[in-house]
């Protein structure tokens, strides 16, 4: 690996600079991210992210799969938010084929996507807190995530990679009584959120570790292509659920929390608020859940007309975009491209960590909430 260091110390330890490898086997790089840090004492002078350790060529794979089969592969990208990945993909294909999705399916998709957001944020909260040393929050957050996984399991039989959506609708309707369970989960989750906040929000050490760490201005965040909570943390109101509503989001009432300082603490608060907004959306969707079919009119063999489209949705991590090209002849996409939010957010890490201490690097990796399966694809 070439490190862009003008003066990498040749000695083992130098009073001036130290180059250390954080990862790919490091407990808090959330997988196999490798960050090459150039340090002055403990202060980070420069960071270089090395990714691709679990690159599986998902895009290339998808170009050789049936349009229907790809749903399965999208599960494997952001594997902690598989339903959202499914949703983005099937909607992109629906857009390409101009398929209308029944209202009930759109409602259920919204419920699934929001439950997925809660699960994904739970994982983020747990690992982020763990990185900063609050190990109990990890266990608490995972405990609640289990409940979401149970709900998904009841819906589609899988706990991690759901394969839970189909082009044109959903593979199956929710089991009877499921909505009641979701409701009681929502009630429970609200109480648990208060627990988390008791442990963290006003904790002085937590404040010290996150306030004014990794501050980024709105202009810079936009320029760096940050998306999702990192972008909103800087006060940019951009949530695709509002801006380009997909599924059934335009029918629900919810708020987009915005940060003011653009630091790690703001990003933390935003995600905590997103938990609550997600619960709110889920409740509205369940209240208004219409009866009706769950599959639209879809040909048995998917063969979209030749053309291309880009469709983006708001995943828990940010803008998840699918760029699909169909040649109109084969049953595979000619080009399948994912715009992974983690990938684009990770790009900002270099900017965020500069000038901070080693301990902040792990806090910042946590705050941008990456999943390496999605970064590397």
């Amino acid at each position: 690996m070439t490190v862009p260091a003008p003066r990498v110390s040749t000695t083992q330890f130098d009073t001036n600079e130290l180059v250390i490898n954080m990862g790919p086997q490091h407990p808090s790089t959330h997988g196999v991210l490798r960050v090459v840090l150039r340090l002055d004492g403990e202060r980070v002078l420069d960071a270089d992210c090395v990714i691709g350790y679990i690159h599986r060529g998902v895009e290339k794979l998808c170009e050789n799969r049936d349009w229907t089969h790809i749903v399965l592969l999208t599960d494997r990208m952001d594997y902690v938010a598989a339903a959202t990945n499914n949703l983005g993909y099937v909607e992109a294909v629906e857009k390409l084929m101009q398929i209308e999705v029944p209202r009930r399916a759109r409602y259920l998709r919204t419920v699934l996507a929001e439950l997925q957001r809660i699960a994904s944020h739970c994982l983020w909260l747990g690992t982020h807190a763990m990185d900063i040393g609050a190990m109990t929050v990890l266990l608490y957050a995972f405990r609640e995530r289990e409940l979401v996984l149970d709900l998904f399991e009841e819906f589609c039989g899988a706990r991690l990679t759901y394969n839970s959506m189909r082009v044109g609708g959903l593979p199956l309707d929710v089991p009877p009584g499921w909505d009641r369970k979701v409701r009681s989960f929502c009630d429970l989750m609200e109480g648990k959120l208060d627990d988390y906040e008791t442990l963290l929000t006003n904790n002085r050490i937590w404040l010290k570790r996150t306030r004014d760490v990794g501050v980024i201005s709105a202009e810079e965040a936009i320029g760096l292509g940050l998306c999702g909570p990192p972008l909103r943390g800087s006060g940019v109101s951009r949530d695709l659920r509002k801006d380009e509503p997909n599924a059934a989001y335009e029918e629900f009432d919810f708020d987009i929390p915005l940060g003011t300082r653009g630091d790690t603490y703001d990003r933390y608060l935003i995600r905590m608020e997103e938990f609550r907004q997600s619960i709110r959306i889920v409740r509205q969707a369940l209240d208004g859940l219409p009866e009706g079919p769950i599959m639209g009119k879809v040909p048995r063999l998917l063969k979209p007309p030749a053309g291309e489209t880009y469709h983006a949705i708001e995943s828990p991590k940010g803008e998840l975009g699918y760029f699909l090209v169909s040649d109109g002849k084969s049953t595979n996409p000619y080009r399948f491209r994912v715009r992974p939010p983690s990938f684009c957010n990770l790009q900002g890490l270099k900017r965020l960590v500069r000038g901070h201490l080693v301990a902040d690097v792990v806090a910042l990796i946590g705050t941008i909430d990456i999943v390496l399966g999605e970064v590397d694809r």
């Binding site: 320029g223 760096l224 940050l226 380009e244 760029f323």
Partner: protein, 311 residues
Amino acid sequence: MTDDTKPGADAPGEAGGAVSEPAAGPAPDPPAAADAAPPKAAPPKPEPAAAARPKSEPAPPAKPAAAEAARQAPTAASAKPAAPEKPAKPAAAAKPAAAAKPRPKPKPKPPPEPPKGPPDPPPPEGMESPAAVAAVQEALPDAIEALSYWVGDWTLIVRRERLLDVLELLKTHEAAAFDYCSDVTATDWPPRERRFDLIYCLYSTRLRHRVRVKVRVGEDDAVESVTGLWPAANWLEREVFDQFGVNIVNHPDRRRILMPDEWQGHPQRKDYPLEGPGELLMENPQDWLRVRNLPDEAGTDREPGPDTEIE
């Protein structure tokens, strides 16, 4: 704006869904569109060209495809003689026949599909292009090769030489204000002369609309990096360089990103073997050695695809 195209895709009649946010999007539309009315005449010109392209293309592709098939065949053939010596390594036991058997299989591979180009359908007659597109049409009419509209997405197809001008205009123009670079990616259409489509997905956080800019580049054409306009393009362009080998120049940090630095070839190209170079190379250890000894390309020189290397 993109919003009003949305209904076509998903929920007809709910175009106004984005009301919760400043409705700046649709507002500036009519005047700008009115401005754009005169240059509206321009699109028809590129249209025929765009339409002609896909038609003219089917012919040449057949050749390379055939050539490729021919190329594949010798590989398999050359591998066969090597086979008798090889069995010692993988399966020391009495499986030379079995080992040889799977090899013929790749030969009757389905014949390569007829190659195609992107349709890039022009906007329907009488449709007004949005203000941002109109602005470019007005300011840089010569830069635009074609204009495309499909399922609600506008695509500007621009000349490679004028790419930066167009993008800069799109970023700075009042009616465009594309300050956010969502995605940079590419598509490979091997038989075509300029085989790569380089696609920039832009978004405006202020006006909340999207546009795609597409540029067609050949294998050796240099494309200016857009990192100066959007730092976000840094990694995205690196990925395009890594996966397609598009010659992006003036990039601050042009290295491979997903593949290892010493990787040969560009996996997302259509002529890259699906199973990766590994198995092909394994057939003949000599090839493996040859590839090993190639100069390290490590983000400096582009290498032709590995298939040509092996031959």
